[in-house]
């Protein structure tokens, strides 16, 4: 093995690539799981999202204008009538232009009630929270997400500063904690939150036909309450409130946000499982490479084996010797593969902004798999060596 450095290195290559691929895939898979878990946490647990769907007549899409809209009354009804619901928060949103002095920023404006922060489990990092008094007075106050705050104020303290939203002045009362990326990849911190009453008065939803329209109702239910039951109850209540006839086309969408996130995770895991399979194939190919080179080695060293037998080596001794050699090759390949895999995973994490989690069990699994490959594919050549007859082995040139 020492005598053929290049040959050993090439032999190990298959194992190196296989193990590195296994480590990378498992790191990405674990990273995806972690990320989704973190996103579910950032979303807030036990959440249901209610949005107006679009109405249909036959196969003709009538557009959202024709759909019965959600109203603040729906939110109140959900919160008061459905057992297990902690809060039901009405939401309005719109894109808006934000101006501070000379700096401009396009971002998401959201009109919410103080309950929103309970539902999303979203704490204020600096300044004060939104209170019901702000809601009642329709006060021109705004809470900023960290991204919005950085874009508009840099490192300066924004609390108390004046901010123009579509040219209407608002006072910054606080900065929210960082939430990070959402499951769908958008920045949850690129947001400004104002009381829904202020949002309605200044910008949106003031149509005469539906003065209490909201874009979304976020429902938080208590721990231990079934998500399905709550969703069904919300669904039934809203059909009843909107006087939808049985059999009439669905116009309201009720969805479980955590579930949506888990679907994302399942997709990522399916991909990483597929790649893991490919990586395993590479390991097997690497094992065949080891078997091949060990067979060559046994042939090359037949005379040496004969000599060893002549001075008293038993079959077992020869078997062990060659098996150890094969396992050493596989293990060295495994360890090199792990190092390369960790580096590759770290590089992917850094450059592709993909969360990777390298855990010890993945590393140990990959290395022990490599050792097993060594045993499995080294056994046949080693047995071949051990079964040589001393006199025949010595006679070969």
């Amino acid at each position: 093995m020492r005598a053929h450095r290049l040959r050993s290195a090439l032999t190990m290559l298959g194992i190196i690539i296989g193990v590195a691929a296994v480590v990378v895939m498992m790191s990405i898979g674990n990273g995806a799981r972690e990320r989704v878990a973190a996103q579910i946490r950032s979303l807030g647990t036990n959440l249901i999202s209610v949005t107006p769907g679009s109405a249909r007549m036959g196969s003709v899409q009538l557009g959202s204008g024709a759909a019965p809209r959600l109203s603040e009354g729906d939110a109140v009804a959900i919160e008061s009538e459905i057992p297990g619901v902690i809060v039901a928060v009405p939401l309005l949103y719109s894109r808006a232009q934000f101006t501070v002095g000379n700096s401009n920023w396009q971002g998401v404006l959201r009109g919410v009630t103080p309950s929103y922060f309970i539902a999303r489990e979203w704490a204020v990092m600096a300044g004060r929270e939104m209170i019901w008094e702000d809601d009642r007075r329709a006060a021109n106050v705004v809470l900023l997400g960290t991204t919005m705050r950085e874009k508009l104020f840099g490192h300066a303290d924004p609390v108390g500063a004046l901010l123009r939203i579509r040219d209407v002045p608002f006072t910054v009362i606080g900065v929210l904690e960082r939430k990070g990326q959402s499951v769908w990849g958008d920045d949850q911190d690129d947001v400004a939150l104002v009381p829904i009453t202020a949002a309605r008065r200044q910008f949106v939803g003031t149509s005469r036909a539906n003065p209490w329209q909201v874009h979304n109702i976020t429902v938080k239910f208590a721990e231990g309450v079934s998500a399905e039951d709550t969703m069904a109850a919300v669904h039934d209540l809203l059909r009843q409130r909107h006087r939808l006839q049985p059999g009439q086309e669905e116009t309201i969408m009720v969805s479980n946000l955590a579930e949506a996130a888990e679907v994302e995770e399942t997709a990522t895991r399916a991909v990483s499982l597929l790649l893991l399979t490919v990586a395993s194939v590479s390991l097997v190919v690497g094992g065949i490479g080891i078997m091949n080179i060990m067979l060559v080695t046994v042939t090359e060293r037949t005379r040496e084996i004969g000599l060893r037998l002549a001075v008293g080596a038993r079959q077992r001794d020869i078997l062990t010797q060659f098996l150890v050699e094969a396992i050493t090759l596989a293990l060295m390949g495994g360890i090199l593969g792990v190092s390369i895999g960790i580096m590759a995973a770290a590089a992917i994490g850094t450059f592709a902004q993909w969360p990777v989690v390298i855990d010890l069990s993945a590393v140990l699994l990959a290395v022990s798999f490599a050792a097993c490959v060594g045993v499995f594919f080294g056994y046949y050549p080693a047995r071949k060596a051990a079964r040589l007859q001393p006199i025949e082995a010595l006679r070969t040139e």
Binding site: A3, G312, Q315
Partner: protein, 246 residues
């Protein structure tokens, strides 16, 4: 005392379609302390005989008793033990492990005896010293001359304190001057009481032995003492002098 007792030994090879009897009824006793040279042309069966004595090959027919043990009936592992403990083999082409130091080469048989490294080293070094190779212990075979390599091989054969030293054309790959030096070592070892069986086709080499047997076509055709040399002292005992420094 009879150390090697061979009775009606036959051995054949399959060449082409037919059987060729390389050994065709050899009966021979070798006493402890003997120095026997086996002579014969190539194809006379002398090497086959040697391989059977060395337990590297099994006879097709007949019996071979080494120190009272019927070797022909032993299993592979038991044969390995015999090769390891009772027989020292010296080859024409030395058969040292390349890229391995002289010391490690000499230690090799003891490795298969599961001996502690320190004890192995001590024994191997004392033998290398005996053959004037103490300063070459760390050299690999490629760094040694032919004569030095053969001396390392002899040290390897003796490190297990065998009952008998078997040498198959030990001078065949050496020039005559070096060959004579090797034969001098053999005479000295026989003088210390070691039983030696040597295969050669050179009469000058065979002349070092105390007894010369001649093979032809698988049969023994002559067996006589080499009276002109009375090297072997006939002293009994098993290589006791090799380790008398202990």
């Amino acid at each position: 005392m009879v150390l090697i007792a061979v009775e009606a030994l036959r051995h054949s090879y399959r060449i082409g379609g037919g059987l060729v009897w390389a050994l065709d009824g050899i009966s021979l006793n070798i006493e402890q302390g003997d120095f026997v040279a086996v002579m014969g042309a190539s194809g006379s069966g002398k090497s086959t005989f040697m391989n059977i004595l060395g337990c590297l090959d099994r006879p097709a027919e007949g019996s071979y008793r080494l120190d009272g043990i019927d070797v022909g009936r032993l299993r592979q592992d038991a044969l390995a033990t015999i090769r390891n403990r009772s027989i020292g083999f010296v080859f024409q082409s030395f058969n040292l492990l390349p890229r391995t130091s002289a010391l490690e080469n000499v230690e090799l048989p003891l490795v298969y005896r599961r001996m502690r490294a320190a004890e192995r080293r001590r024994r191997a070094l004392s033998l290398l010293e005996k053959f004037g190779l103490a300063d070459r212990a760390s050299h690999t075979p490629a760094e040694l001359s032919g004569g030095q390599q053969q001396r390392v091989a002899i040290a390897r054969a003796l490190v297990t304190e065998p009952l008998v030293l078997l040498a198959d054309e030990p001078t065949g790959a050496l020039d005559s001057q070096t060959g004579q030096e090797i034969m001098a070592i053999f005479r000295r070892l026989n003088g210390e009481g070691l039983t030696i069986v040597l295969v050669t086709h050179e009469p000058e080499v065979a002349a070092n032995a105390g007894r010369i047997v001649t093979f032809r076509d698988g049969r023994m055709v002559a067996d006589h003492p080499a009276t002109q040399h009375a090297w072997h002292s006939g002293s009994q005992g098993r290589l006791s002098l090799v380790y008398n420094a202990q």
